[in-house]
Homo-oligomer: 365 residues x 2
């Protein structure tokens, strides 16, 4: 199986987004005034000017992972997923997330759902250290058949502290941060594989889901269920990454030993190619792979390449850092996020991602 | 007919929102640091600290007005509706909107829809003078059956310039700004009345839709259709209101001759009660009523009270201003927004909204 055959037409999505972007004009807000757009290398689009700072906005939803939560009526993790998808994107440009708003669409308001989502968002705000600055609940029985949840995060950074990938160079060290599992991408493929396997979401998990550094949410007794494993919340990387940027600024006056940061979402390792136009990436020490990926690959008969293009495969975030600062940075990150490790390096041997597994190679995202 | 019988259970929505809010804890961000929440009188929840400024976020969607756009495959106005619902909310606290992100959920990407929505958002950014700072398009065939569109706007204000209603006093003058029609609220009732009337959205409009100061979007020749009238985009009030705040600041060094601003959305005139705990509001010169409201009331057999609790009835925004500055402010607003007029005054004769039509009286929102 692959992602495209699971109901997601990537080309059609690309064409749709292209026609949307093609319709957008330049901003009417003039450079040097609050709100003027800032174009940075690397294409992160959400930055605007604000005095001596830049503000960044990110908006995203939980996607079809929600359908599993709704199927088993357990929404305790979806607010964390929603937060993570947004704040982790902000971190990639060096922004510190400070506030979040949620948008909930339901066919009909249900106090049980809202209480669970609210508790999950409250937990997420604590984990990401952001203020919940508002939210909207829409009842749209003619448009949605079950819960949709999305949100928008706001972050800021000093004008000179943007991390864009522009300063990347051959020899930079790649440090990976462990994921907690599938996070919130690739769920069309996940749901397709589960469906074909004949397993139910409330059946016992057919493999041992234990994995270092993560805790599976539990609402049943006995062995974990499939849903409990799949609904493990997406890891929020604010604590290690914002902490690191503050640490570097305090120690050396600059954050610029960090040359690039990538959030590994849909697209998997191919996301790295967005950070630079010509440099390449080699992964020689990939991170441990959570057991659900092994099971999904076997039961879905998915290629190694497709797995690494669809899933994070155990690594939720990658930082490319200067060789000289890499030991200090690894120590700092490791103390915050057990399991951080050096996974490879940047090279100037072509714009591609290569991997110790030779099946895994990307030249396009 | 009324709003509740049209499929919207307001009590259930209230209970759902209450259980969500009950789950939210205080922010972890400390007062005096970026992102710390600011509690202002009036209950506008979206304000956070940022140095000498406050930042404000607002999030909202277009709601079931989208279903009419989708039914007739005309999305040129929905981006403007989405922008308006958000930036008009920001204006109420005295914030200047500077950036916007959109969230689009569709069952399947469709380049025609995305191009139309994109063009509409681009137009909306121009009208609101904001930068489109990002967006997300989600394909969720298991969750949405047709287009859902929501967004988040970001605005800012100087710390001392928040408009909260706190300084309201008896004798303040109420200035209304004309709406362009139904805007984006009450569409469950609108759709219910149209359905019972037997009219189709593409039928000729059964009344003369001409109304001073607004232009109906046209995609057919000949007489306007029902859909063309209903899909008139929500008016964006950034130009008059931000312009006014800049004007007052430049002339008198303060914005505080404006004591309160209310965006008239679902809840109609009862929204005014949110601005102050004890003062009252009398409308003695209501604004002209667009003809669709007259037709809807007759054909739905809706009471005057229900009409004014569900719709804006021709007035999209109300400013409560000091008597001494009211002439200057009316002149300024009138030059920006033809049709601005004095509609009534604030009094200290009880926490209620009264109206020259004695049927229209609100003591609760």
């Amino acid at each position: 199986m692959d992602y495209a055959s699971s109901g997601v037409d990537i080309d059609l999505e690309g064409a749709a987004v292209a026609s949307l972007i093609g319709s957008l004009q330049r901003s009417t807000r003039k450079p040097g005034t609050p709100g003027a757009p800032v174009d940075l290398p690397g294409g992160f689009g959400g930055l605007i000017e604000f005095g001596n700072h830049l503000l960044a906005m990110a908006t995203d939803g939980v996607g079809s992972k929600l359908q599993i939560a709704t199927a088993v009526k357990q929404w305790a993790s979806v607010g964390i997923d929603c937060m993570a998808m947004n704040v982790n994107d902000l971190l990639c440009v060096g922004a510190e997330p400070i506030a979040f708003v949620d948008y909930i669409a339901v066919p009909k308001p249900d106090p049980e759902v809202h209480a669970a989502v609210g508790a999950s968002l409250a937990k997420a705000c604590e984990l990401a250290n952001v203020t919940l600055a508002g939210g909207e609940t829409a009842s749209l029985p003619g448009i949605v058949t079950e819960l949709d949840l999305s949100g928008t995060a706001l972050g800021f950074l000093a004008k000179d502290d943007a991390i864009t990938g522009e300063t990347l160079q051959a020899g930079d060290v790649l440090i990976g941060l462990p994921s907690s599992g599938i996070h919130s991408n690739g769920f069309s493929l996940v749901r397709n594989i589960i469906k074909h396997s004949g397993l139910g979401y409330e059946d016992a998990c057919p493999f041992n889901p234990e994995f270092a550094g993560r805790e599976i949410p539990r609402w049943t007794e006995g062995n974990p269920t499939v849903a409990e494993v799949l609904l493990t919340p997406t890891r929020i990387y604010c604590d290690p990454v914002v902490g690191l940027l503050h640490h570097l600024k305090a120690e050396s006056g600059t954050v610029h030993d960090v040359h690039g940061i990538a959030h590994i979402t849909g697209g998997g390792l191919s996301n790295l190619l967005r950070l630079h136009d010509s440099l390449g990436w080699h992964i020689d020490s990939p991170m441990p792979i959570p057991p659900e990926f092994v099971w999904l690959q076997q039961n879905g008969n998915v290629t190694d390449l497709e797995m690494h293009r669809t899933f994070n495969m155990g690594m939720g975030m990658v930082l490319a850092v200067s060789k000289k600062a890499s030991e200090d940075i690894l120590n700092f990150l490791g103390a915050k996020n057990s399991g951080a490790q050096i996974i490879g390096h940047v090279h100037d041997d072509g714009h591609k991602v290569t991997h110790v597994n030779s099946q895994v190679m990307f030249q396009h995202y």
